[in-house]
C-alpha cells in the first residue's frame, strides 16, 4: 500500500460523500462558500489577464517600428499604464487570493474560511475596481505609469488619474480583507492534530503573504489619498510648484510596491512547493527551510524599497544600505530554489502539465532572481534603471515567477476544482508555446536596455528595431498560447474524464475528500496519517510502532478538542483498520538506525 492509499483510508470517514451539485448561476451570486469564491476569483482575474494581455499586444505592436505610428502617444502611455495596473492588481495579486480561498480551508481540514461573508465582499470588490479602472478609457485613461509619479500624474489625464487612484484603493481594500481572512483561518481553524509545522507549505506562504499585505497596503492607501488631495484639492504634498516633494511620494509608493512583488509571487512559491513533491513522488526537501525562508523574505522585503530609487532622491550612503539589504534577499530565495531542485533530484517525475509549469517556473524565475541581484548593485543599476533591462527583469519575476505558478496551480488543482481531468496533450502544447513565447519576448529585452533603450517609450532609436521586432513576434506567440488553454479548460470542465478524489495520489488533506468537494468539505474531522509530503516513506512509517502511537495521539487530540463523538468512533475504527493494514508489511524490515530519523517530523 502506498502512502497515499494509507492517508486516504485513514480519512474514509471524514471524506464527504457526494460532490457539491453546482449550477453555473451559483457563480454569479453573493455565495459565501470559499470554493465558489475561489473559482469566482480565478475566472474573473483570468478575464482581466486577457484584457491586460490585449493591451500588452497593442503596446508591442506599436514597438514593432521605431516611430510612434500605431496609436497616438498619449494612448500608448495609457495602454502600458493600464496594462501594468491590470496585471498587478487585477491578475496576479487576486489570482493568488483565489487559490488561497479555494485551498486553505481544504488543506487545513476546515469547513470554510473564518469570515465567509467578508470573503465574498473581498471578492466582489475586484470586478468593481476592475470595471472602474477600465472605464477610465472613456474619459482619458491615466498616462503616468502604474507608479503614477507626481508631478507628471498631477498634470496629465487628471480624470483618468483620479479613477486610477480610486480603483487601486478599492483593490487594495479587497486584498486587505482577504489577508485578514487567510491569517485568521490558518491560525485558528486547522484540524486539532495539525501543528503549524504539519501544514502544507502553501499555508506558510499565505501567512507570509498576508503579513506583508497587512503591513504594506495601508501605506499605499496613504500615498494615494495624499496624491488625490494634490490632484483634486490643490494641496501640495508632492507638488513641487507648491513646495511639495515628489520624492516623498516615491518612498511611500515603494514602501508598498516593493513588498507587493513578494505579495505577488510568494503564494506561488507555495504552489511550487506543493506541485513538485507530488509529481516527483518525493518528500519536499527542507520543509522548515522553505517555510521559514518565506518569513525571512517577508521581513527583508519590507526594508529594501529604496532600491527602486537609486537614481532619484537617495543620498549615497542610503543607497549602500538598500543595496546590501536587497542583496541579502538572495539568500533565502536561493535556499528555496536549491531545495526545490533537491526535491526533484532522483525522483520519479511525472511530467504532466502542472509539473512542466512548475519546472518552467524555476527555470524562468531563477533568471529574474539573477538579474535582480545585478540591479541591486548600485553602480550597475544606475546604468540600467528605467530601461528595458528592468522591463525584462520584472517580467522574468512576475511572468516567470507568478504566471507560470498560476498555470501550474491551475493544472494541478483542476481535477479537485471541477471533478474532471484536464487534457494533458493540450496542456503540454500550452506549456511549450508559453515557454518559447515568453523567452522570445523577454530575453532580448535585457540587451535592449543595456544598449540604451529606456522604458515607457513609444518611439525609439531605429538601431533597436531588429530586437524589438523579435520581442513583438514573441508577444504574439504568447497571445496565441492562451488559446489552447482556454479551450482545454472549457472543454475538459464539461466533458473531461471523471477525476476521482485523488488522481495525483497526493497526501495533503484537500485530496482526501470528493472532487469537487461537498459544501462543507468534510463529513468529520480529517486525520493526519502522514505528513503532507511523506512520499516513499511508507515502508518506514507503516511498520513502526512510533506511527501507531502518533496516530492514536492524533485521533485522541481531535476527539478531545472537538468533543465530537464521531471523532472517537472514527479514531477507533481507524486505528483498528490501520493495525490490519499495517500487519502484512511488517515483514519489511527497515528499522536500521539511519531510518530512525525518517519519521517525517
Amino acid at each position: 500500500m502506498t502512502q497515499a492509499q494509507f492517508q486516504e483510508s485513514a480519512n474514509t470517514e471524514a471524506r464527504g460523500t457526494a460532490p457539491a451539485d453546482r449550477h453555473w448561476r451559483d457563480y454569479f451570486t453573493f455565495n459565501t462558500d470559499h470554493k465558489v469564491i475561489g473559482i469566482q476569483y480565478l475566472v474573473t482575474t483570468f478575464i482581466f489577464y486577457l484584457i491586460g494581455g490585449v493591451m500588452a499586444t497593442l503596446v508591442r505592436t506599436e514597438l514593432a517600428t521605431p516611430d510612434s505610428d500605431f496609436v497616438p502617444p498619449e494612448l500608448y502611455n495609457s495602454l502600458f499604464t493600464v496594462h501594468a495596473t491590470v496585471m498587478i492588481f487585477l491578475w496576479i495579486v487576486p489570482a493568488g487570493a483565489g487559490f488561497a480561498n479555494f485551498l486553505i480551508p481544504l488543506m487545513i481540514g476546515a469547513k470554510d474560511m473564518a469570515f465567509p461573508r467578508l470573503n465574498a465582499i473581498a471578492f466582489w470588490l475586484i470586478p468593481v475596481g476592475g470595471v472602474l479602472l477600465l472605464s477610465s478609457f472613456l474619459v482619458g485613461a491615466p498616462q503616468a505609469g502604474w507608479t503614477s509619479y507626481p508631478p507628471l500624474s498631477l498634470v496629465t489625464a487628471q480624470a483618468g488619474e483620479e479613477i486610477w487612484i480610486l480603483s487601486v484603493l478599492i483593490l487594495g481594500t479587497s486584498s486587505i480583507l482577504g489577508a485578514v481572512n487567510f491569517a485568521v483561518t490558518i491560525f485558528t481553524m486547522r484540524v486539532p492534530s495539525m501543528g503549524l509545522n504539519d501544514m502544507p507549505l502553501f499555508c506558510w506562504a499565505m501567512i507570509a503573504t498576508s503579513a506583508l499585505t497587512l503591513i504594506a497596503t495601508p501605506v499605499l492607501a496613504a500615498a494615494l489619498i495624499l496624491l488625490s488631495f494634490d490632484l483634486l484639492a490643490g494641496t501640495a504634498f508632492f507638488n513641487p510648484t507648491g513646495n511639495g516633494d515628489p520624492i516623498v511620494y516615491q518612498h511611500l509608493f515603494w514602501f508598498y510596491s516593493h513588498p507587493a512583488v513578494y505579495i505577488m509571487i510568494m503564494p506561488f512559491f507555495g504552489v511550487i512547493s506543493e506541485v513538485l513533491p507530488v509529481h516527483s513522488r518525493k518528500p519536499i526537501f527542507g520543509y522548515l527551510a522553505i517555510a521559514y525562508s518565506s518569513l525571512a523574505i517577508s521581513f527583508l522585503g519590507l526594508i529594501v524599497w529604496a532600491h527602486h530609487m537609486f537614481t532619484s532622491g537617495t543620498p549615497g550612503w542610503l543607497r549602500m544600505f538598500f543595496m546590501i539589504t536587497t542583496m541579502i534577499i538572495a539568500v533565502p530565495t536561493g535556499i528555496k530554489i536549491f531545495s526545490w531542485l533537491a526535491t526533484i533530484w532522483g525522483g520519479k517525475l511525472r511530467l504532466v502539465s502542472a509539473m512542466l509549469f512548475g519546472m518552467g517556473f524555476i527555470s524562468t524565475f531563477v533568471l529574474g532572481g539573477i538579474t535582480g541581484i545585478m540591479v541591486a548593485s548600485v553602480p550597475f543599476d544606475i546604468h540600467v534603471h528605467d530601461t528595458y533591462f528592468v522591463v525584462a527583469h520584472l517580467h522574468y519575476v512576475l511572468f516567470g515567477g507568478s504566471v507560470f505558478g498560476i498555470y501550474a496551480a491551475f493544472y494541478h488543482w483542476f481535477p479537485k476544482m471541477t471533478g474532471r481531468m484536464i487534457n494533458e496533450f493540450w496542456g503540454r502544447v500550452h506549456f511549450v508555446l508559453t515557454y518559447v513565447g515568453f523567452t522570445v519576448t523577454f530575453l532580448p529585452m535585457h540587451a535592449l536596455g543595456m544598449q540604451g533603450m529606456p522604458r515607457r517609450v513609444a518611439m525609439y532609436d531605429p538601431k533597436f528595431t531588429t530586437i524589438n521586432v523579435i520581442c513583438t513576434v514573441g508577444a504574439y506567440m504568447l497571445a496565441v498560447s492562451t488559446i489552447p488553454f482556454i479551450i482545454n479548460v472549457i472543454w475538459s470542465w464539461r466533458y473531461g474524464p471523471k477525476a476521482g478524489d485523488n488522481p495525483w495520489q497526493a497526501l495533503s488533506l484537500e485530496w482526501m475528500t470528493t472532487s469537487p468537494p461537498p459544501i462543507e468539505n468534510f463529513e468529520g474531522v480529517p486525520v493526519l496519517a502522514t505528513g503532507p509530503y511523506d512520499y516513499g516513506m511508507e515502508k518506514i512509517q507503516n511498520t513502526g510502532e512510533r506511527l501507531r502511537l502518533k496516530l492514536r495521539e492524533n485521533a485522541t487530540r481531535n476527539a478531545q478538542k472537538t468533543g465530537i463523538p464521531i471523532a472517537e468512533a472514527q479514531a477507533s475504527t481507524f486505528l483498528g483498520r490501520t493495525a490490519t493494514l499495517v500487519a502484512p508489511e511488517s515483514e519489511v524490515n527497515v528499522d536500521s538506525p539511519a531510518d530512525e530519523s525518517q519519521d517525517g517530523e
Binding site: P73, N243, S280, G316, G346, D386, Q451, G452, G536, Q598
Partner: protein, 333 residues
C-alpha cells in the same frame, strides 16, 4: 543525497566554469565605454555576468537532466526514494550564495565609491547652491539677459544635493568644467555658467573632470548617457549632480529615462566629447552666436513668450520644431 563528487560532475563543473569565464567577458551586451566610470562598471558587470552564467547553466542543467533521467517509467506508480537528511548540503547552499553576495556587495561598494557616489560634497548642501538656485527654472533666461525673470516656476528649498559626486582623488578640487543641465518637456538645455553659453547639445573636453548640475523645470526627467553608464533623475525643486570624466572623443546620445509625458521617447540630445582644443573652439563659436541671440532676445521680454517661442533659438539643435513644442504643452499654462 550526497554532495556530488564523481569525476563526471567534476568535469561538468570545469566545463561550466570555462563557459562562464568566457561568456562573462564576451557577452557583447554593453555599448562602448566612453568614461572612466563606465570601464569600472563594466568590470563589475562582467564579474556578475560570470557568476550568473555559471549559476544559470547549473540550474537549467539540473532541470533538463532531471526531466530526462528521472522521468517516470510507464506503469511505475511507486514513490521515489525519500531523501536522507543532508544538513551539510543545506549549509553549503546557504553559505555559498551568502559569500558571493558579500563579495558582489563589497565590490559594488568599491566601484561606487571610486566613481564618487560617496563624495560627501556631492551629497550635501555645499555652496554651489547659489549657482543652483540662480539657474533653476530660469536657466535659459539667465543666459539671455541678466535681468530677473518672471519664468521660474519652482521654488528652491535648500535640500541635500543628490547624485554622483567627485571621485575620491578629486574631492577637494572644483571640477574643470561645470555645466548646468535642465530637463523640460521634451528637451534638454545645457548652459555653461562660466562662459554664458547655452545650447541644446552637451559639449565637453575629453579627460577633464566635468560636473553637471541637473535640474528639472516641470516634471521628473532622467539624464542618461548610456555610453558613460551614468544616470540621474532631474527633479523639480531638488538639484542633483553628476561628476565624471569622459575618455573617448565622439558623439553620444543623452536619453531621458524617466517617463515625462507623451513624447518622452523623443526627448533626446547629443553629447559631444572633443579634444580640449576643439572644445575651446566650439565654446568660442557659441559665445559669438549667443551674443547675437542676446541682442534679439532683449528686444522682447522673454517672460511674455510661450515655451515654444522661447525655445525657438534652440529648437534647431534639439530637432523639434516650435510648433510641435507648442502643441506638446497644453498642460503647462
Amino acid at each position: 543525497m550526497n554532495i556530488p563528487s564523481s569525476i563526471l560532475t567534476m568535469l561538468a563543473g570545469i566545463v561550466v566554469t570555462l563557459i562562464s569565464l568566457w561568456y562573462g567577458q564576451n557577452h557583447g551586451l554593453l555599448p562602448i565605454a566612453a568614461s572612466d566610470e563606465a570601464s569600472d562598471i563594466d568590470a563589475l558587470f562582467n564579474t556578475m555576468m560570470t557568476i550568473s552564467t555559471g549559476l544559470f547553466i547549473m540550474v537549467q542543467g539540473v532541470l533538463v537532466f532531471a526531466a530526462i533521467k528521472y522521468r517516470r517509467r510507464q506503469g511505475d506508480n511507486t514513490d521515489g526514494p525519500p531523501w536522507h537528511d543532508n544538513f551539510p548540503l543545506e549549509i553549503l547552499w546557504t553559505a555559498v550564495p551568502a559569500v558571493i553576495i558579500l563579495g558582489i556587495g563589497v565590490y559594488s561598494f568599491e566601484i561606487y565609491n571610486s566613481m564618487g557616489g560617496l563624495d560627501p560634497m556631492g551629497n550635501h548642501d555645499h555652496g554651489t547652491m547659489q549657482a543652483h538656485s540662480k539657474m533653476r527654472g530660469s536657466a535659459i533666461a539667465a543666459t539671455l539677459s541678466d535681468t530677473p525673470q518672471k519664468t521660474p516656476q519652482i521654488p528652491s528649498p535648500k535640500l541635500v544635493a543628490l547624485g554622483v559626486g567627485a571621485s575620491p582623488e578629486n574631492e577637494d578640487k572644483p571640477a574643470d568644467l561645470v555645466v548646468n543641465v535642465m530637463g523640460l518637456q521634451y528637451a534638454w538645455i545645457f548652459s555653461y555658467p562660466e562662459s554664458g553659453v547655452s545650447s541644446g547639445e552637451l559639449h565637453m573636453p575629453a579627460n577633464r573632470d566635468v560636473q553637471l548640475n541637473i535640474s528639472a523645470q516641470d516634471v521628473l526627467h532622467a539624464f542618461w548617457l548610456p555610453e558613460f553608464r551614468l544616470k540621474q533623475d532631474a527633479i523639480p525643486g531638488r538639484p542633483s549632480e553628476l561628476r565624471f570624466t569622459a575618455t573617448k572623443t565622439g558623439e553620444y546620445r543623452v536619453v531621458c529615462a524617466e517617463l515625462c509625458g507623451a513624447y518622452h521617447g523623443a526627448m533626446k540630445a547629443v553629447a559631444v566629447v572633443h579634444t580640449p582644443e576643439e572644445f575651446d573652439t566650439w565654446l568660442q563659436s557659441q559665445q559669438v552666436a549667443s551674443s547675437q541671440n542676446l541682442e534679439q532676445a532683449v528686444a522682447v521680454n522673454p517672460g511674455e513668450l510661450s515655451d515654444g517661442e522661447f525655445l525657438a533659438p534652440y529648437v534647431r539643435e534639439i530637432k523639434i520644431n516650435s510648433e510641435t513644442l507648442e502643441q506638446l504643452h497644453p498642460t503647462h499654462h
